[in-house]
């Protein structure tokens, strides 16, 4: 009834120390970054709901804190996407390719 997907033998990779390194590199970037941008976003939503006086502070012309805060969310989203792309190209892809090739070569 419960059928296991056809094994590619990939599971053996997890005992390779290079795999532990890959997993740790990935998690070290992705997990803290996710926590960070979620908190940063929630801060924005909470301020929009509960700190309307502060958000309405005018900075210059008709530009207020709320608008700048909102635009900063765009900026950080773009930056994190760019940063992760660069990190993955340099620190994750080469190791992932190496491991994949060694697993496929072993078959």
């Amino acid at each position: 009834m419960s059928h296991t997907p056809v094994s590619s033998g990939a599971g053996g990779l997890t005992s390779d120390p290079r795999f532990a390194e890959l997993r740790s590199r990935f998690r070290r970037f992705a997990f803290p970054m996710t926590v960070a941008f979620l908190l940063w976003y929630l801060l924005y939503v909470v301020l929009s709901a509960y700190a309307r006086g502060f958000m309405s502070t005018k900075l210059f012309g008709n530009i207020n804190v709320a608008l700048v805060f909102g635009l900063l969310q765009f900026v950080t989203t773009f930056l994190i996407a760019w940063w992760y792309g660069r990190y993955a190209e340099r620190r994750l892809d080469p190791l992932a390719t190496e491991l994949r090739e060694s697993a496929e070569g072993a078959k």
């Binding site: 929009s48 309405s56 008709n62 207020n64 992932a96 697993a103």
Partner: protein, 574 residues
């Protein structure tokens, strides 16, 4: 400003304008039909049908993701919200954008590497196939159909407005036409046809929005502060128009919690939307999946920045009164702005630009409904038919045949439901779809990928727990029960609304006249957005279910090791 007001009455639309709008609609439909037939000649295998042969580039898929994601609700809806409520409309777009980081960092690449055609491929990887696929299939179909209904009912009202026709007949014709077109795209063109329709739409949408943004900025000499000032002044609300609070402004605690709840569902829902997830399978590898999300973030971000110019521009140049007169929900703010920017009502430029933006809105609706139909019919065939009913013994041709039949069936159901629901206020269904995606799908996806002890029981508890709690909360909310309360002060009723609710126009019993069940009974739960309750329930149920399962399914962690190695390295990926 009488020239601006000329657009408002539907009867005042001239025959020439209608012909222009219909002509451009027809051109778009003709182009997409041609693409679909072209794609059908290149669709032979199941992988072609479900995943476009995994042959799209990162850039192409990035555009298609944009085309799949940016619905008429975000184009016309957010521009309209900003035009009417100022800053609060902007809150939506930020949640819709930031959400993509969840998809980029935690989901897209790992899903691409470990799955094949549907979301359930990943969820069921190390679980008991039949129960988990059933749960994931049910959740996929429910989310997609809710979203689909919102789009199709919206399309009926919107296209009638854009064409300047009134009455129930045209709305029904539009709903049926949209339904038939989406069925055609999916059954004939499969994922390849659908993807190209979405790419064409994304290019049109960015071009249209970009052109209008440019024209608005030129009017204000690229001085954004001046544009905002003009919008605030024209709104009659002064600087409050540029601050949070006009829409989510009630002073009681619940409305603020409702805003938080909406924010949570938006940011966590995107990475659990099945029609978005299956797009990651259309590229050759994880790198291309990452690149497509990065492109999508760029496109979607720039697009939402442009909706700021469109919304505030419409507030300043068209004016809230003229927008509300045309559509109280503000959905026609962008097309009305187009007419003004083109040179005003009756001018040649105004008519052309209005017709173009109307056609873009139509294209937007079609591309999104096609994506939703494909996601739900793929899940029906691949998860429920091939793996649950046939226990993995169906042939490829069989699967594709059933997927096409499912698209026909789901499309027919969506058409009929939309026709019945056309008088209802179904805008809440989009937020509900996001909330279910965040409460039912996301916990299961994240735990599948990252938590070794996650098991069949956890997956079932999480999916059903998140799904049922989100739907139940909405059924107990002011969306369904519209009685006036402290959270929902009595609304000013129109004669029509009062008649529908069975109360005199002066009644103070009614808080939400468009409530589904009753206008006069107050809601037991004062939240419209269930996320803040249902998302924790989904995660908790998934965790508790896993921890309390008696027998360890994956005693030695072999299946999890296999999944993890595949997900991170792409070994054995389809």
């Amino acid at each position: 400003m009488t020239d601006v007001l000329a657009l408002t009455g539907a009867q005042e639309r001239t025959g020439v304008q209608q012909a222009l709008v219909i002509g451009l609609f027809a051109v778009f439909v003709a182009v997409t039909l041609y693409i679909t037939i072209w794609a059908s000649r290149r669709t032979k295998t199941a992988t072609d049908f479900y995943a476009g042969g995994r042959s799209f580039s990162g850039v192409q898929n990035g555009l298609a993701i944009g085309g799949d994601y940016m619905s008429a609700a975000s184009f016309l809806g957010i521009a309209g919200l900003i035009a009417l409520f100022g800053y609060d409309g902007f809150l939506y777009s930020i949640g819709f954008l930031v959400a993509w980081l969840v998809a980029l960092l935690l989901v897209a690449e790992l899903l691409r590497n470990s799955g094949r055609y549907t979301m359930a491929d990943v969820l069921a990887f190390r679980m008991r196939q039949r129960p988990v696929r059933t749960a994931a299939g049910v959740s996929t179909i429910v989310v997609s159909i809710f979203y689909l209904l919102a789009q199709m009912v919206g399309a009926g009202a919107l296209v009638s407005l854009l064409l300047g026709v009134t009455g129930e007949g045209p709305k029904i014709i539009v709903i049926v036409a949209v339904g038939l077109l989406m069925i055609f795209y999916v059954t004939v063109g499969g994922m390849k046809g659908t993807t190209w329709v979405q790419i064409v739409k994304a290019v049109l949408l960015m071009t249209g929005a970009g052109l209008m943004t440019l024209l608005v900025l030129i009017k204000y000499g690229f001085n954004i502060s001046e544009m905002l000032g003009a919008a605030a002044q024209a709104s009659g609300k002064g600087s409050a128009f540029l601050e949070p609070g006009l829409r989510y402004g009630a002073t009681d605690g619940w409305s603020k919690i409702d805003l938080l709840s909406l924010g949570l569902a938006l940011v966590l829902g995107t990475a659990g939307l099945p029609h978005i997830l299956i797009r990651f399978y259309t590229v050759p590898d994880a790198r291309a999946a990452r690149k497509s999300v990065t492109w999508a973030i760029g496109l979607i971000g720039v697009f939402y920045l442009m909706t700021l110019a469109l919304g505030f521009g419409a507030a300043a140049l068209v004016g809230g009164a003229a927008i509300k007169k045309n559509d109280p929900g503000g959905n026609t703010a962008a097309p009305q702005l187009a007419e003004v920017l083109g040179g005003g009502a009756g001018s040649f430029g105004g008519s052309i630009l209005l017709a173009f933006i109307a056609a873009v809105a139509f294209a937007t609706i079609l591309a999104v409904v096609a994506g939703l139909t494909l996601a739900s019919s793929s899940s029906f065939s691949h998860d429920l038919y091939a793996n649950v009913i046939k226990r993995g013994q169906a042939t490829e041709q069989d699967e594709v045949r059933v997927a096409k039949l499912a698209a026909l069936g789901i499309g027919a159901v969506a058409i009929v439901l939309s026709i019945f629901a056309r008088g209802l206020n179904v805008a809440f269904l989009v937020a509900l779809a996001f909330a279910i995606a965040a409460s039912a799908n996301l916990p299961a996806i994240l735990f599948s990928l990252f938590w070794k002890r996650f098991n069949t029981r956890g997956a079932l508890w999480g999916i059903y727990g998140g799904l049922v709690s989100a739907v139940l909360i909405v059924l107990l909310s002011p969306v369904a029960w519209g009685g006036a309360s402290e959270t929902r002060p009595a609304a000013k009723l129109t004669a029509e609304q009062a008649a529908k609710c069975g109360v005199p126009v002066t009644s103070t019993q009614v808080g939400n006249p468009t409530a589904l069940f009753s206008c006069t009974t107050a809601a037991p739960i004062p939240l419209e957005n269930p996320g803040i309750i249902s998302i924790p329930i989904g995660f908790l149920a998934a965790a508790v279910g896993s921890l309390t399962a008696g027998r360890r399914e994956d005693e030695n962690g072999e299946k999890y090791a296999e999944l993890e190695a595949r997900a991170l390295t792409g070994t054995g990926a389809h």
